[in-house]
Subunit: 145 residues, 2 copies
Amino acid sequence: MEADSRRRYTIGEVAHAVGMSVHALRFYEREQLLIGPIQRSAGGQRQYGAVDIDWLGICTRLRESGMPLAELRRFADLIRQGPGNEAERLRLLDAHQARVEKQIAALEEAREIIAWKTNVYQQHLRAGDASGLWDPTAPQDDQVT
Amino acid sequence: MEADSRRRYTIGEVAHAVGMSVHALRFYEREQLLIGPIQRSAGGQRQYGAVDIDWLGICTRLRESGMPLAELRRFADLIRQGPGNEAERLRLLDAHQARVEKQIAALEEAREIIAWKTNVYQQHLRAGDASGLWDPTAPQDDQVT
DNA sequence: CTGCAAGCTAGAGTGTCCTCTAGGTCAAGA
DNA sequence: TCTTGACCTAGAGGACACTCTAGCTTGCAG
């Protein structure tokens, strides 16, 4: 995420640095998810700069947090257009942040349910493997676990 | 999630109750993601019971928290086999819980980065829309935002 | 008894996000 | 120079989790 500001990096180096595959990097470029065009060597090979790597780091975070590529592209578009549309960038990020909060809440709820179930199993294991667990007999009022 | 233990429910009612589409419910059944076969009416229509609805509620939580269907199927298989494999169920849930923790951590990190970026934009908006933001000129040492 | 919403099946289609392939080219060490 | 590994493009392929379609049946309200 922090790289020498003057050096140029090959696609392989970048892939390693940001934890994506070279395939994915080329795919992102094709899909216009990067800001500014990536420079090329005389022979046509990509030469990424520190800025590109920083941006890819941000991309990774946004993706990991569930931002769809379409929205990431929108964000990249806005940045590519240069200063003047900060309000829209802000809206986009705010919307995403709301999504992230919601997802954290959902995950925490799931965590509790899992913990509860885990507990049920641990107790059954301690008690000797078969008490009130579900069983395809007596189709009424039994636990599912 | 808590339903009358004796009543039977149509697929539409269940879909509404658990927040899935009827398509998804049929799909889950085909894919063996449900425990026990769903009962049918004389005419062949599904009649879900409270147990099924409970299980679907758990499915929803596990899915929301990122458990792949293959693993959910594995879990359903274990339950279908009846008591005796609690240790394996526990392993499965523990593994998933670890995944959930990791995802929560990742989301919280992302949240901070987003908050920081949001801040940058807010400041720029307050300061008058164009200071040190990225601009396709002077390709060195500038912020990306 | 008629109408019509809701249900049925098997299988094809969709959207998302990469990943891989084929058929080459480039670059750097021995 | 030769070899080897990394890189190139355009497009096909694939995993995942549904979602929809077509053609038909059920079942309840009027």
